[in-house]
């Protein structure tokens, strides 16, 4: 299982309905990209961080490991805003408002990423996918996504084992060997995926498979109190931003 999904399964908010967590987490993300980066995104960032590390109980180390992935892309992208191409100062020169634009972008992406991470770290994919049918996603697409999700872990495990076996046979000692091993890995993943699908099909056919995959979904109800509190928090953040925007320089 992947670290974020594993953390979601053992989260304090595991038993909450996904809608509760979507209103809060994705609401914070929407606020982060809609409000002015200063002070809006900064407020969202602090709030998301406080909720993640406080009530949601996400371990700091796990959060940092997940958070540094989007941060790498954001920093690389923000660096380009520091310079301008053309103009009187030469072909490439420092942009006048580059640092402020880059800073605002970093604030916005950081806050928005934390909002999504709040949802991801508290909602296992197995709770979310079956409920997408009620949200209007066609059942065959949800079924394909469910099979993809469950088979991904098996394939990732297989790939890890094959890579270890290749390394034990000196399959990564030279560049040519590395390419050969990688190609073997990709091809074996394909063969195993189709082999598992065929065996799953045989097994399901013996159990009267009619084309729909019925899975048990843990019972959960949308909490009116939690959702109302989330909406109140989001409204407060928006109002505070508008007030501070006028007050701050």
């Amino acid at each position: 299982m992947l670290p974020i999904d594993a953390a979601a399964h053992s989260s304090r908010w595991r038993r909450r309905h996904p809608v509760d967590k979507a209103v809060l987490g994705l609401g914070l993300t929407v606020l982060a990209i809609s409000l002015p980066p200063w002070p809006g995104a900064a407020l969202v960032l602090v709030t998301a961080l406080a909720v993640l590390l406080g009530p949601a109980g996400v371990p700091t180390r796990r959060l940092w490991r997940a958070y540094r992935v989007p941060l790498g892309f954001c920093v690389t992208g923000a660096v380009t805003l520091l310079v301008q191409v053309g103009g009187p100062e030469g072909f490439v020169s420092l942009a006048d408002d580059g640092p402020s634009r880059a800073g605002e972008l970093l604030l916005r992406t950081s806050a928005a990423s934390l909002g999504v991470l709040l949802f991801a770290f508290t909602t296992p994919m197995s709770d979310l996918l079956p409920r997408l049918v009620r949200a209007g996603v066609p059942a065959p697409v949800v079924d394909v996504a469910l099979v993809t999700y469950r088979m991904s872990f098996l394939l990732l495990d297989s790939v890890r084992l094959i890579r270890d076996a290749q390394a034990a046979r000196l399959g990564h000692t030279s560049r040519a060997a590395e390419w050969r091993s990688l190609a073997g890995l990709g091809a074996t993943a394909f063969v195993r995926a189709f082999d598992r699908a065929a065996r799953l099909q045989t097994g399901l056919a013996g159990r009267g498979y009619d084309g729909t995959l019925r899975v048990l979904v843990p019972e959960a109800r949308v909490s009116v109190r939690f959702t109302a509190a989330s909406c109140a928090l989001l409204a407060t953040l928006a109002a505070l931003t508008l007030v501070l925007e006028k007050a701050l320089p």
Binding site: L81, A112, D210
Partner: protein, 233 residues
């Protein structure tokens, strides 16, 4: 490399979502029809999605000595066709956003457009064009994967340049900046992905001829000379 969460302004995020929607809806309709006619396809399509997800998690040695991940869009489009790849790519990008923190939900439309629509369609078009002129299978596969990878990153650069035009030279200057970082540096990686795809396809022709025939990559009876040679090797 996916555009991270919150990187695009709201108007751009919505616009790319709207641009992607017709392709994804078309793919969903194709997939739904396929599953209704052949219920067992659910498992094969799920396996294909898992394969795409795992392929994008493999570490690819670059010819410059660095390391990256293949997009898998070229191989996916050749094996499963672009309409199906639009759906499988969307599912994969959703999983990557929620399980790996790669990409994002507000940027899902933009990432789907570059990685699940333009990449697969461009790669598949080049592959089919070359095959129509009897270019050997493996050469067509190389150029299909190369173009799919490179076009994905070119579109990402365009998306970023539209969102963040250069203060002095506008869109073109920004395209040069983002292209230099995300597209030009991707050329050696695109070559690497092309080579890897050829090696994978060679092994698949040897070991999974039945599946490739079922997917329509190989002809059931008549085989071109290069395929026969590949099988013989």
């Amino acid at each position: 490399m996916h555009i991270a969460e919150g990187f695009l302004p709201p108007a751009h995020a919505v616009a790319w979502g709207i641009a992607s929607a017709p392709f994804v809806v078309h793919g969903v309709r194709s997939l739904t029809r396929e599953v209704r006619e052949h219920p067992e396809s659910t498992l094969l399509l799920g396996a294909s999605g898992a394969f795409t997800f795992v392929l994008s998690a493999l570490k690819l040695p670059s010819v410059t000595g660095s390391c990256s991940h293949p997009t898998g869009t070229g191989l996916g489009a050749i094996l499963f066709r672009p309409p199906i790849m639009a759906v499988l790519g969307t599912i994969t990008l959703l999983f990557q956003a929620l399980l790996l923190a790669h990409g994002g939900l507000t940027t899902l439309g933009a990432n789907v457009f570059s990685m699940a629509i333009v990449g697969p369609w461009a790669g598949y078009a080049v592959y089919k064009l070359l095959r129509r002129y009897d270019v050997p299978l493996m050469v067509a596969v190389f150029f299909g994967a190369f173009v799919a990878d490179l076009s994905t990153y070119c579109v990402t650069s365009v998306q970023l340049a539209l969102a963040f035009p250069d203060p002095s030279s506008g869109f073109l200057g920004a395209l040069g900046k983002f292209g230099a970082i995300f597209a030009v540096t991707q050329i050696p990686l695109a070559v690497s992905e092309g080579l890897l795809t050829v090696l994978v396809m060679r092994l698949l022709v040897q070991s999974s001829k039945g599946e490739l025939t079922r997917l329509g990559v190989l002809l059931a009876k008549k085989q071109s000379r290069s395929e026969t040679e590949a099988v013989a090797r």
